[in-house]
Symmetry: C2
Subunit: 293 residues, 2 copies
């Protein structure tokens, strides 16, 4: 079954071989039709038609230009401002994402994760010296010790525990204290070093809900650009539905059946919980499960 989580509608050619050329930025600028997306404080220029691309401003120093790739053949750039700090997801950004096409949302995700990584990694973690933007924005290079650094992506597992299969089937959704009122979602957590996806799913379910995972099946994945996660969505069968909550992580959890999940996804007033937004893979995962994944 094909699922289409948010941020997976890429129209961007990352030109990952072409961009290895040391002179790639001036060469692409010389093509004359390069376009630029301004992202002040991570809020991209956009209107009702989508992301707003302009000519590349002539006053941006080359060491601030980040090459995203090509869309429809034309080179695309954004900019890492010297004073940009790491950012958080703001309500303005969330509203914007819901309005963007799948392609624009994915381009935004790439740009946002790259810029945030530069903003948080201006110094060499190996020697402490200030590092330079390198590889047209897809790396940083330390001029002191020569260490190269590459953008970071943190894998996160997100999962539904499933009790019973068939008509009696129910899945476990949980509520973090910071969620909007009524919202429940799949449980999730960062994968740790030395861990497989399946190992992380089992550990997180045991840790957060005290349930023991049996068979685990992979469903879908998405990038999550706040700041740069890889969300890996799975379903784990559990034989014993007794839940013991880790109250540091969750303030509540409940077992919900297919009808309740469909009602939540439809936004019904009678639904027993509010589903996460469509661009979050938890939404995709709930729908996939309800439809038989």
């Amino acid at each position: 079954m094909p699922f289409t989580p948010g941020f997976t509608g890429s129209v961007l050619d990352r030109v990952e071989i072409e961009r290895l050329a040391p002179d790639i930025v001036p060469r692409l600028l010389a093509e004359g039709d390069a376009l630029f997306l301004d992202m002040p404080d991570y809020l991209p220029a956009a209107d009702e038609s989508g992301l707003l691309w302009t000519a590349v401003p002539g006053d941006i120093p080359p060491e601030q230009l980040v090459l995203l790739g090509r869309i429809a053949g034309r080179p695309r750039f954004t900019r890492i401002a010297p004073d940009l700090l790491g950012g958080r997801r703001t309500p303005a950004v969330s509203a914007l994402i819901e309005a963007l096409s799948a392609g624009d949302a994915t381009t935004y995700a790439v740009a946002r994760s790259l810029l945030d990584w530069h903003a948080r990694h201006r110094f060499c973690a190996f020697c402490g010296h200030a590092s330079d933007l390198a590889r047209a924005g897809w790396g940083r290079l330390c001029p002191n010790c020569g260490t190269e650094h590459f953008p970071r992506t943190d894998p996160v597992v997100i999962m539904l525990a499933e009790h019973e299969r068939g008509p009696q089937a129910r899945v476990l959704v949980g509520r973090q204290p910071t969620f909007p009122p009524g919202r429940y979602s799949a449980l999730a957590g960062f994968l740790e070093v030395g861990e497989s996806i399946e190992g992380a799913v089992a550990r997180e379910l045991a840790e957060e809900a005290g349930v023991r995972a049996g068979a685990i099946r992979y469903v879908a994945s998405q990038p999550w650009p706040f700041p740069s996660q890889l969300m890996i969505a799975c379903i784990a069968e559990v034989a014993d539905p007794t839940v013991t909550l880790d109250m540091n992580e969750l303030e509540d959890a409940r077992w919900v059946d297919r009808d309740e999940v469909f009602a939540a996804l439809a936004g019904d007033e009678s639904a027993p919980f509010q589903a996460p937004p469509p661009y979050a893979i938890a939404n995709t995962l709930l729908r996939a499960w309800a439809e038989g994944a």
Copy 2:
């Protein structure tokens, strides 16, 4: 179908809640039965029975102790030596891994990835100041700007392109110039920011072999501790088997059928290629495909 890739036989309880306590290290040492794994230059102490655990040496400064977790209830530590540098996989380590039990290999993977991360990240990437080991080894804290840093895991997709299904089925294996003579393996590459697993699989197959992925199915995952990757193994259907190699990545690629894969996995002299070692997920992936995954 359950597959058991290398480094996925965890016997380690990561005590991920317990280890949040600020005094966790002295508290566990005070239990009196803590054990220690020495890892000079990433080669763990071991004999034919497996990893060699000793009492925790009394002369290790607390800021060098890394808590791995508990095994069979007893706390387990290793040490980040002040002069340790990032390491590579050596022949001695490869030989050792093949001899270790699944549980020991996984414990080694956790320890190796943690130590390597500390060795490569002694300075704060946000401000350049020297950072301190924190969270019993599961983080670093900058005393200058207060930024917390967490161990890094880089997702890598590794995949077999599959042409036809059923008895005619063949998969694509490729050869990097650095491989031992005769070795072919699944293609692989780092997932990039803003990319899903499926997006990365399709991009890497297009980039390295010039083939276009149709349906993609997930098979299995493993941690890879050289230094700290998450390997995500998939199979991608391709309709057109015409291969165009990226000679920067691969020096050869070939389509192989089930019998040839089985022969390679068995180490037959007549096999058309040498399979990757059993602890590599490429081996698991080839076997899973040949057995019908």
